[in-house]
């Protein structure tokens, strides 16, 4: 019963958003160029759904690949850094130099160095997810209660075992936030990456839309990206619930 009520609230908020959109567009208060209405949206969907599906597929492959590789690399390097003061001292400046580089800024350099293939596009997503996850991993490792590590060490675990059996499971709840942020960012990154000469993908579709100020296409792209991101987030949450059943947060 209570769960039902909560679902209704979620439903309501989506309904209100859609309601506002319908009100603004159907009343004619806002012109379609500024905010396309249901008519424009319907039209653009019916005329180009095939193209859009094709673009979506390409985008999804780049996003998923980049997100998974970048996040995994971030976790692994983060664990490495947090494991040893010397590694940390060595890696920290490199990470700190790389981390803030705006992906937009290196697009021309990446193209110069690597051309316009799938590699530099994926790399941009990998890089973006990597720097998000690595920082959170280092923080999460620092926040693992010492007593668990101490207990493991007195039970004979070496540094590697401690990492595998204690640090890794203990940081999962804290990592979830970072992974979710990285997943969200990966969609923004893949769009930026597809600015680098991709000839397909939602990012490409968006550039074309921007060039012609086709706000209907822009809106459709945003809806698609949001939907994909939402689905990804739901998947992460389901995975999380399975991985952190032991945690207090679910009781």
């Amino acid at each position: 019963m209570k769960k039902m009520n909560i679902k209704i609230f979620s439903f309501l908020s989506v309904l209100i958003l859609i309601g506002i959109w319908l009100l603004l567009t159907l009343s004619g208060w806002v012109k379609p160029l500024f905010l396309p209405g249901p008519k424009e949206l319907y039209e653009v969907i019916t005329t180009s759904y095939k193209d859009v599906f094709m673009h979506m597929g390409y985008t999804l492959i780049r996003q998923l690949g980049g997100f998974v590789i970048g996040s995994l690399a971030g976790i692994i390097v983060g664990l490495l850094i947090a494991s040893n003061r010397y590694i940390e001292a060595f890696m920290d400046p490199i990470i700190e130099i790389l981390r803030p580089i705006p992906p937009l800024a290196i697009i021309p350099l990446l193209i110069l160095w690597l051309g316009i293939g799938a590699l530099p596009q994926m790399l941009l997503v990998v890089f973006g997810c990597f720097v998000i996850v690595i920082v959170s991993t280092v923080e999460a490792v620092r926040n693992v209660p010492r007593i668990y590590i101490n207990a493991a060490r007195t039970l004979g675990a070496n540094s590697f075992s401690v990492y595998r059996t204690i640090v890794l499971p203990a940081i999962i709840p804290s990592l979830v936030g970072a992974i979710r942020v990285a997943a969200g960012a990966s969609f923004g990154l893949v769009v930026a990456a597809e600015f680098m000469g991709a000839q397909e993908g939602i990012g490409y579709y968006m550039i074309i839309a921007q060039r012609y100020l086709r706000t209907d296409m822009i809106l459709l792209s945003i809806i698609i990206i949001s939907a994909l991101a939402w689905l990804t987030d739901q998947a992460i949450r389901i995975l999380e619930r399975r991985l952190t059943r032991w945690s207090e947060r679910h009781s």
């Binding site: 160029l33 500024f34 697009i107 021309p108 350099l109 193209i111 110069l112 160095w113 690597l114 051309g115 316009i116 600015f195 680098m196 000469g197 000839q199 490409y204 550039i207 074309i208 921007q210 060039r211 012609y212 100020l213 086709r214 706000t215």
Partner: protein, 333 residues
């Protein structure tokens, strides 16, 4: 809005030589003399001029023919209020060792034949360019000359800046972009094989100013004054070339961190662009029905092309509504 007895006008510009006369006019106080409080907003990305104009951040924006048509299909309030120049400096850039138009002429070919031969060279090749951009028609025309169509080449469609990087890193056989990219590539040793004016009248661009119905109807006098200032400025620049070239070089360097010299500006002004320096020149360039760069012919062609390529919906752009420039021009005192 009025400030004192001056009318405030916010004009969106791009940091190109094409629009430098407006900056020069401001410098010389020509706008003030006409009662205009001129404020310029610099847009390094062309794509942002249109939304800024639609939103009202700027009253008038620097525009050229192709983008005005694609935007007008979305934004019927757009008005192309004046034409100021014919830009012919866009060029197809090739890899090192490519044959160029100049070489063919030296070998004794006439212009027409050279253009056809170079067009044929594109067959089966990949070309980096930007659909919907002002220079995009250059490729269309080059192919047309050689009896080819877009199906005979592979278009790699990307933003001009990134396209240039990709071209340098080895992507594509040819490149067509904006002037800054052309110059950069030439500097790096990639030859411009053929430029807009060499390809033919379909490969040159008409550029001027665009505004909105609202602004034009509320401030018809401002549009007139902008025209007057333009001709006054160009006249002055013609009479004082050294001062003008130096100013333009400095202005451009300030915008782009470049190292242009007055001589570079002079080359540009003579080779790449044809300014309407006076009312008479404008009449001859844009409004004479027999001119190869008559605006109406050009727009009719472009609309037809974009309707056929389905980039705009049939009938979504009405020529008389989009381009009141001729009427404004003929009303000029």
């Amino acid at each position: 809005s009025e400030s004192g007895d001056l009318t405030k006008v916010n004009v969106g510009l791009m940091p190109y030589y094409d629009y430098s006369p407006l900056a020069f006019a401001e410098e010389k106080g020509f706008f003030k003399a006409e009662g205009i409080d001129f404020k310029s907003t610099m847009f390094p990305v062309e794509g942002n001029v249109a939304p800024a104009l639609v939103q009202g951040s700027i009253d008038i924006g620097a525009f050229s023919d192709t983008p005005s048509i694609t935007l007008a299909s979305q934004f019927p309030d757009l008005e192309m209020v004046s034409f100021h120049n014919v830009f012919k400096g866009f060029a197809i850039v090739g890899r090192k060792g490519s044959k160029t138009y100049d070489q063919l002429i030296k070998e004794g070919k006439d212009g027409q034949a050279a253009a056809v031969e170079l067009g044929k060279q594109l067959k089966g090749k990949s070309i980096i360019t930007t659909s919907g951009a002002s220079f995009y028609m250059v490729i269309e025309q080059a192919l047309k000359n050689a009896g080819l169509s877009k199906k005979d080449v592979k278009i790699i469609d990307m933003e001009p800046d990134q396209g240039a990087s990709a071209f340098i890193s080895g992507t594509g056989d040819f490149y067509l972009g904006g002037l800054p990219q052309r110059e950069k590539l030439e500097q790096e040793g990639y030859p411009a094989i053929i430029s807009g004016d060499q390809i033919g009248s379909g490969a040159v661009i008409l550029a001027g100013l665009a505004s909105t119905k609202k602004f034009v109807s509320e401030h018809p006098e401002v549009i007139q004054k902008m025209e007057k200032v333009w001709f006054k400025t160009l006249d002055y620049m013609q009479k004082h070339p050294d001062e003008a070239y130096k100013f333009v070089a400095d202005w451009s360097n300030k915008q782009s961190g470049g190292k242009s010299k007055p001589a570079d500006v002079k080359k540009f002004f003579t080779d790449y662009i044809t300014f309407a320096h006076s009312k008479a020149e404008a009449q001859k360039l844009f409004y004479d029905p027999n001119s190869p760069t008559n605006w109406k012919k050009r727009y009719e062609n472009l609309i037809q092309y974009h309707e056929e390529s389905k980039e705009i919906k049939k009938g979504s752009v009405k020529l008389d509504q989009l381009v009141p420039a001729e009427k404004i021009f003929s009303d000029l005192k």
